[in-house]
Symmetry: D2
Subunit: 257 residues, 4 copies
């Protein structure tokens, strides 16, 4: 290739062809695993690339096992569960609600380190293995919080985990590790706890995880036109990624001309 092509390839973004192969292939896999995909669940925010530098993953191909932060999320339900609450619950409703997602990651790919001030999650592996890295203690905050059942301490990281280049530092405080398999009991991640996860690079298939959680407050571009049950929810972003680039990248997918 000549310089012009190299420049084009280096521009951040994903081609429509590659995006379609990725997201529609993932949707077929979800259906095969009996997770029903409605047409509205496939949009320009379904495939998530956590920052400009991570688009390089698609030049190598999603089955090339290098470490990058890219994933697919199909959201089947995001119900505020505000209806029927007593009036006094209004300020706390943002901690409740119901969200049901399917997350698909190819070998070597990561969901990057982040935490949710409001959202409590649970994981169920449908295909492959899920390697979870997390902080066993909550992220400190100014207010007093209820604590009844702390996170398990997990084990040490296995040897030789390849981290996404340039983002190694964001993983340093996620010192606990657990590997979840198909058939395991549900694993709960409390709100305010740092976590990341990946599909092992030597996996024969993508990792497919179902996440049942409280409401997901995410101001992504795809969610721009949705209605909010309470006005105060309009400005909430409950995702705090440790990488600034991941914070921005999560909200918008860039397409190449």
């Amino acid at each position: 290739m000549n310089i012009t092509d190299t420049a084009l390839d280096a521009a951040p973004g994903i081609s429509r062809r590659d995006y379609t192969e990725w997201v529609r292939g993932a949707a077929a896999l979800a259906e095969a695993l009996r997770y029903s995909i409605q047409p509205s669940m496939i949009n320009d925010g379904t495939g998530i690339v956590f920052g400009d530098s991570q688009y390089e993953a698609f030049r190598r191909g999603l089955w090339s096992p290098e470490a990058y932060e890219v994933m697919v999320i199909f959201e089947a339900l995001n119900e505020p569960a505000v209806d029927g609450l007593p009036r006094g619950a209004e300020p706390f409703a943002e901690y409740g609600g119901l969200c049901d997602k399917l997350m698909i990651l190819h070998p070597g790919k990561y969901c990057p380190p982040h935490f949710h001030p409001r959202k409590t999650e649970s994981y169920e592996v449908l295909m492959g293995s899920m390697e979870v890295f997390y902080g066993p203690d909550g992220v400190p905050g100014p207010d007093e919080r209820l604590q009844v059942s702390p996170m398990p301490r997990g084990s040490e990281w296995p040897a030789g985990v390849e981290l996404p280049k340039g983002r190694e530092a964001t993983y340093s405080s996620l010192t606990s590790f657990i590997r979840l398999e198909v058939g395991d009991p549900k694993f709960v991640m409390h709100r305010n706890h740092l976590h990341a996860f990946r599909c092992p690079p030597d996996s024969a298939t993508p990792l497919v995880v179902r996440e049942i959680s409280t409401y997901s407050h995410e101001p992504t571009e795809a969610a721009r036109d949705k209605e909010f049950p309470l006005d105060s929810w309009r400005t909430i972003n409950d995702n705090v990624f440790l990488s600034d680039e991941a914070n921005t990248g999560r909200l918008r997918t860039e397409f190449r001309p």
Copy 2:
């Protein structure tokens, strides 16, 4: 048979043999549909018979399509999601949390009319068809409640629905109807709304429904030894069945000697 046997058969309760066939058969079906069953999810409360009169269902056999109120529930998760809440949320935490259940009903069988003051639910059909009967308006209560997205009105009941004998009256205010199929979008049932559902009597297979909901407060015998995240939760029964017998029956399964 002689009188002694008739008397024995008439005694309320289910034999261990019949219970095992029912519940372990349902567990195998759940696994085949990729819903993982832990050993702890199979206990004496997994099969639910809503009152003494409903045990008759087993004498006819579960595939005989008469209307009875019996069902299986496998509970994979019941997470309070109290950890990390701000202190002020404590009185309202009982409206939140995460519950994940699989419910299996044989042809003609019902989950009887009830409502939950706290729990909001969503349904996903994995096998068969789910016929839902519900009250489109909330059950009146003393306190002011938030309302942002009322239940859809549903349609009229189809003709010829056979109701469980002697319990017809408990279904009378559930005037809305919707039939949910595999692949449909999630259907949300708000808290405080009367609902019941059944597997159609002419179904070739059991109905299998996955329910994602907020926390399930149920003082069943099987749950007797569990820990409560907050002391005030100890006495909550968030299930209100319109039939007194169903209220009692839900909490304990009777076994025949």
Copy 3:
């Protein structure tokens, strides 16, 4: 119970209620595993009890892990593949054809020792584990036979295998053993080789095995009205069970009044 009831229970046969629970439950499990069941595949020959003494299995219940010879077979295809053969192939067509079956056995239950002079089979486990007992050498016959790829020798039997009472002797020459799991490569059983298999008694689920084989010549009662592609096939029974009672029992299921 009094003497009359005991006599009734001791009569060989299965009640309609128990048969329906067994076979329709198995059909639902098949569908959940994506094996499509047509209505014609459910009939009085779908559930197989290998002789009068084996009906006792149903009094204990199918989930009680004692050793009995009972199983369910759903036959999705039995294609002679005679069309288009050259005329000279007619005498040998009975060794060809295509049969596709799903076999379901509850914990502890066996398919009893037998061989097929014509049928070559292959196994694929869809759920549970399949413990296969077989004779590594072919059953001797009068004619010269082609041999190109003998059966593998297998391993010795594991310790403590409980055999069906009274039929132990029929298993004695099946000296090879192999345990097949979900995901294993296909295992081929050549024609003329003795074989039997079971679902391990401690299994959490039934064993579900898909068998792809050449044409299945079985003069069962359910097959009585089927058409034969060649007149000479009318009298073929390609199943030779070592137990006389199993030979008879395979062809007809007895129902209790």
Copy 4:
């Protein structure tokens, strides 16, 4: 792009990256549908492109619904079933045996018109819809053939079927049409009958079909080192495609440097 790149793109062949995305993505889909993929089933012949002109499909992307002749085949079993045949059957053994394949086609993609002098097939749709085009009468041959159950006549083609450019003529004598869906009874294609099939271009998922057939005689590059049960089988190619280019293309996949 400059002229050099255009020339490169025009060269027939598929890049390793595109091949891997295609075939490993298909393997994951197969596993999700419970069809077990052994490592040996993924090789350079798993993805099939029926001639040089069809490689263009990959430049557009597999989800772009244009008509091309490309497909994936996973072969789980190809058993000659020669062992145990009587000596006299040897000349006719090539009409028997057992083959089990999974075939995956993206929207708009075809398996091109062909017939098998020896192989009888059956189809079972696991995902999507299968549109089958076939000749209801057998291809004439010099020898007398057995006929006991002719192919059904099928229906006329639906309107607006887009055929692969330049290959329209090869479809002209496949005048019968049938659309097969998930849950349909098995459909049998007798030997010596022309057939082709496609995944509808507007399909939300790939078409996934399981084919149970007699032995598959295919001298592909991937099969070069396999053993033959009978010497006379070494030179058999039982696939006759109407397009010369498809005949050649089926045997070898071209990779771009």
